[in-house]
Symmetry: C2
Subunit: 334 residues, 2 copies
Amino acid sequence: MATIKDVAKLAGVSVATVSRYLSGASKLTTSTEAKVKGAIETLSYRPNIMARSLSQSRSDMLMVLVSGVSSPFISNLLSAFSKPASARGYKVLLAETSMDQKIEATYIEALRSRLADGFVQLSAHLHPEMLDKKHTIPFVNVCECLPEATYPTVQIDDKRAAKQITEFLISLGHREIACLVGLYNDQYRSPVTVKRLDGFRDALDGNDIEFHAEWMLQGDYTTDSGVQAAQTIAEMKQRPTAVFCASDTMAIGLIRGLANLGINVPDDISVTGFDDIEMAKYTVPSLTTIRQPVEKIANAAINNLIDIIEEKAHVRQHVTIEHELILRGSTRRL
Amino acid sequence: MATIKDVAKLAGVSVATVSRYLSGASKLTTSTEAKVKGAIETLSYRPNIMARSLSQSRSDMLMVLVSGVSSPFISNLLSAFSKPASARGYKVLLAETSMDQKIEATYIEALRSRLADGFVQLSAHLHPEMLDKKHTIPFVNVCECLPEATYPTVQIDDKRAAKQITEFLISLGHREIACLVGLYNDQYRSPVTVKRLDGFRDALDGNDIEFHAEWMLQGDYTTDSGVQAAQTIAEMKQRPTAVFCASDTMAIGLIRGLANLGINVPDDISVTGFDDIEMAKYTVPSLTTIRQPVEKIANAAINNLIDIIEEKAHVRQHVTIEHELILRGSTRRL
DNA sequence: CTGAAAGCGCTTACAG
DNA sequence: CTGAAAGCGCTTACAG
């Protein structure tokens, strides 16, 4: 690999001049400019970004920390980060931890040593080092955020969305409504699960509908867990007439599981999803769900993050993105 | 941020000693070790990986270049890279180009200046700079590979897999078989599309079945394009009894589209997919398809890449991973 | 407009 | 076992 020194030598100028040519900030004589340009081309020289980052102490990179990329909602969200970052001169690097503590730790190390100028965190579990004020690096927490977060967040109003779609079910005449949420026990409950369950219960309360504990099913946001929930519902002495699911993936599994057991959606049971993944349009029946606008979420996250990095004045601490209720075929009037 | 100098000063030793403590390679006195350890802790020091990479001219990072992460098959594959990399002490950084030339160029720049020690390329379109022997950096091309590739590749035998699943349709008595592949014209045809189509045609040829050009439908691997193909099939004067699809996503769209038009799968038409994404089990009907084992592909790719980087002797140039025919509900005997 | 030199935060022979 | 010093490839005041 050719270095800036090689270029300088070949062009017959100093490395400082080459550096200036590269940055484009200062003016050069037309002749020196031509010499440098020629040397760069014949050597097919590319600056070493590690060296550049080291001397500038910034890398123009943003990292996105995520535990897994295979959920459809997450992967759609991930797709939306590059464009807004690129528009402001930053690259984005996705780091997926596969739920592995060690792997996550290596990314945190990388972050602490300034591999990136800042990061987007897609889970609520923030590494303690990041919260330590002494050496925190800029970040914004997206989608899975603790309600008491004292750092920047971007998310939809999960509670309100859950309440809204549940109220829609109620408006169709349903009063026997089960819910299928994520894990919810003393060991583990994600912020999103808590908020969506809260919204669900709020809707029930507001309509004088009793909450049946036995109708609260727990999954893990996978389609498989939806299939399992179908089994549980089929075995109930008293079945609900509708099920609020905290994700499309679980709703899809639920519908499929119910179908296998001879229970039809929406004729026998109405089902709602959450997220509006692409597949939600194509399942049979298609899903009534809440759309989370991934582009808007990603744009807000990236722009906020860059504002923080560049210390702009107008940084918004907590950003709420509007969701949308999408009506399709998985729900019907009772 | 504390630097190695700060640690050295606080511990009362030289920076070299701190560096040695960090690398763990050389032995230190128990007392100096304790002093350094203490200093690192009180300063909560973390080495700057940019500086380290610069002086070692390696970063222990691997980059995965991908045009988009939202296809289910791709996102599953991406999830599988971290573990094998981590096992050998490397981090993986995913870089998604969103099909944007400029964004891709910035990643290529980063690569050329050694942001990573090597990369995995998930598309056949290799940046010319990477093929230029003068300054190539280690990489392996995965899944979408040109047949004439002179660089390391890892993939299944797409042609054989396509042939096999088509022969399965034929064994069920089908002879009127359409296919739904990716774009295939003079402007653009991906290697995978070409190979799967070849395999399909081979199976037809081997069974004296004529290939009908009008039964060759083109999509773009999205579910939407499958839905559109359904429309085309419905309008045909003579309809096929089976359709070979080059991806599960297109097959799912096709089935959904046919259902909307009152055409039942598999009763009226049998449909096969390709990839075996998670959703393939949950569609109605579930998909008969070819499974591409993503973990094996990712393992082979990462280990091969690291072998190349570390200049191991046993690097395999072209690796073929075994696929698997999965029989489910979307196909039936004619 | 251009150059010499110091500095970014590490690592690594070379001595001792 | 430990330290002084050079070097990795850039950028950036400071002079001229």
